[in-house]
């Protein structure tokens, strides 16, 4: 009894010290965010809820026509989420604010993939089917995907959807940031191009941040002093300005720490160069070698119900 317990404690202590040293000496976690990607600034004070962006998105990305047409604004009576057949949806929020004609002032909120600077989905993906491109897009490569849906578990915005009714070749479905249009054809994303009120501004993320700050400064009464996406989860390429507090518009308060940081730091400190498995293998070999033959001799003295 004594031997094994002592050995076990030894291993535990050794492993503990090793882990502690590794954690302390491990390189600080490095963000892999592109330095100045494209992004979009969505100004919710401008959006009129016309759903043109939804329509353009469906056309550009070859998504199926919805059951109720894009002109049907009663769709807005319910809160919707992006799903496997619509990469972007607009929802209507009413804060109780009333205009000069005693009408409730609605705020419309467009939802789509936020294209995080350090995307949790890309860090999590078992095969690297999701990647952060230099131009800002978080891109999905169906040819690598195995359908584990860990990206959906990881996404703090609950964006990736799944073709659950395809039995053999389902895909993860989410906004592509119109990667091909932007990268190859030099065009705007479908939604940004169509928006009739310029609620969506496409541009370099740094430029958009300047623009957003200028708008808040110019008209502080019209905006809350927060750019959603500037710092959330380490920053996102899609960012929002609003006239109402974001929590009232269905936005989730999120930490500023990038989502992958903790898991990646732990994995890196434990498994870089596979040092810990190698050390453990060595320790166990040592124990096995030194305890050879011991058990047989003990066989007669040991045992019995204790």
């Amino acid at each position: 009894m004594g031997i094994s317990r002592r050995n076990f404690l030894k291993i535990l202590t050794a492993a503990g010290t090793a882990t502690a040293t590794a954690t302390a000496s491990a390189h600080a976690w490095q963000s892999r965010a592109p330095s100045d990607p494209y992004g979009c600034l969505v100004d919710l004070t401008r959006c009129i809820g016309c759903r043109k962006c939804e329509q353009a998105c469906a056309e550009v990305n070859g998504l199926p026509q919805p059951e109720r047409s894009f002109e049907d604004l009663t769709v807005l009576d319910e809160k919707r989420r992006p799903d496997e057949s619509s990469f972007t949806v607009v929802n209507r929020y009413v804060s109780g604010e009333i205009d000069e004609r005693d009408q409730l002032v609605p705020t419309f909120v467009k939802l789509q993939c936020m294209h995080c600077q350090d995307p949790a989905c890309a860090s999590a993906c078992i095969v690297g089917a999701l990647t952060k491109e230099d131009n800002g897009a978080v891109r999905y490569d169906v040819s690598k995907c195995i359908g584990c849906r860990y990206c959906m578990v990881a996404c703090p915005f609950e964006i990736p959807a799944y073709e659950y009714h395809d039995p053999i070749t389902p895909r993860v479905m989410k906004c592509t940031f119109c990667y091909e249009r932007v990268a190859k054809d030099g065009k705007l994303p479908g939604c940004a191009e169509i928006c009739p009120v310029e609620a969506i501004t496409f541009g370099r993320r740094s430029t958009l941040l300047k623009l957003a700050k200028a708008r808040i400064k110019k008209d502080p009464g019209n905006y809350v002093d927060h750019i959603y996406g500037e710092n959330e989860v380490g920053g996102t390429c899609w960012m929002y300005l609003a006239g109402q507090p974001f929590e009232k518009l269905g936005f989730n308060p999120l930490p500023v720490k990038p989502m992958p940081q903790l898991a990646e730091s732990i994995q890196h400190s434990l498994f870089s160069y596979l040092w810990s498995p190698i050390v453990l293998f060595g320790m166990l070999s040592g124990i096995m070698w030194s305890s050879r033959g011991k058990g047989e001799r003990d066989d007669n003295t040991k045992g019995g119900a204790r």
Binding site: M1, S4, F8, R81, D83, E84, A120, A122, S123, A124, C125, I126, V127, G128, A129, K144, C145, I146, G147, C148, R149, Y150, M152, V153, A154, P156, F157, E158, P160, Y162, E163, Y164, H165, D166, P167, I168, T169, P170, P255, M259, P260, L262, I266, Q267, F271, P277, L280, F281, L284, I287, M288, S291, R292, K294, G295, D298, D299, G303, A305, R306
Partner: protein, 401 residues
Amino acid sequence: MSHQAAPVNNRFWTPGVVVLGLLAAVGLAIIVARYIGGIGYVSNLTTARPWGLWIGVDVASGVALAAGGFTTAFLAHILGRHYYEPVIRPALLTAMLGYTFVVLGLLVDIGRSWAIWKPMLHWNPTSVLFEVAMCVMFYLNVLYIEFIPILTERFKGRVNLPGVLSALNSGVDRLLHLADNILDKIMWVFIIAGVVLSCMHQSSLGSLMLIAPTKLHPLWYTPLLPLLFLTSAIAVGYPMVVFEATVATTSLKLDSEMKILTPLTRFTIFLLGIYLALKLGDMVVRGTYVYLLDGTAQTNAFLIEVIFGVLVPWLMLLVPTVRQSRRWLFTACTMIVGGVLLNRLNVFVVGYRPPISAANYFPSMGEIMITVGLIAGLMLLYRFLITYLPVLNKPEKEVTA
């Protein structure tokens, strides 16, 4: 070696086995439906709740409850405590079948089952799941290799293939001899590798949820998750051996093996104590005890998990009478097994609350029947293999017919 394993040679088709067969058949039928209509056709999984019962039970609990394999190998082979060797083979078989069914469960759950090999080609080193997958893949092969001596012992010198295949008899026999000779010399590598791989992926299974801090309930979300998963897996290893040995010996009317199981669970006091201390310490340090009395489903699930799955059975094991009583030891060990199962279910399903869509999830009948069917299939295969292969202990006294 003082013990000897032997095929059980009982009648295979008992009423219990027939029931298992029916459950497995129902599960298989629903798996067929899943491959015709898609995951959405048989399950309640959604965008907001992409992981459900299959990941919580078939995969995460399956891996945890197969921990008897590496914990007994560590004790008997690495620490050289050969007294415990009689429990190694059943624990190895449980682990081998457990991991096999983890993979089968995964095949049902992942959308593109046919692409399951792709992580071997496309590596994503930042992905915790990638590491888990690699370890599980290697470990499953290690388990199969560790099982080969049981096959060679049974068939060496008496290979007797039916019909045309009988021409291959001598060839196969030579192969068995060769495998036996080689494996005898290098088996230590696989035994140690099995323990190392287990430590790696048992802990990393806990790291899986670290990427979703806004979704997992604070009672479970802690940077200690990997350590808690590892210590609980190590702690549940021997109770699982007791659980499985008691069920098998009762069902097959074999010797109860209490003289091995009782001292074995003395280790569990220590191991489960570490887990309990970490779990409670983590709760105190992070101040999450503030949630304990808020009456939500999550909190209640946590309380049941810790009180009835860890604390009570731990206290029970402290009592020598409990450890010596077959019935009480089985009760305590079943509670520990249930506690770890509930923990995995809590981390992956109950405690997972997507804050934006706040979607609820309860497994569909189809999900439940597939999980039940897979477990029934595992038990069938276990029963089949112990009937025809030398896994369980030979009864010490000859049973008079």
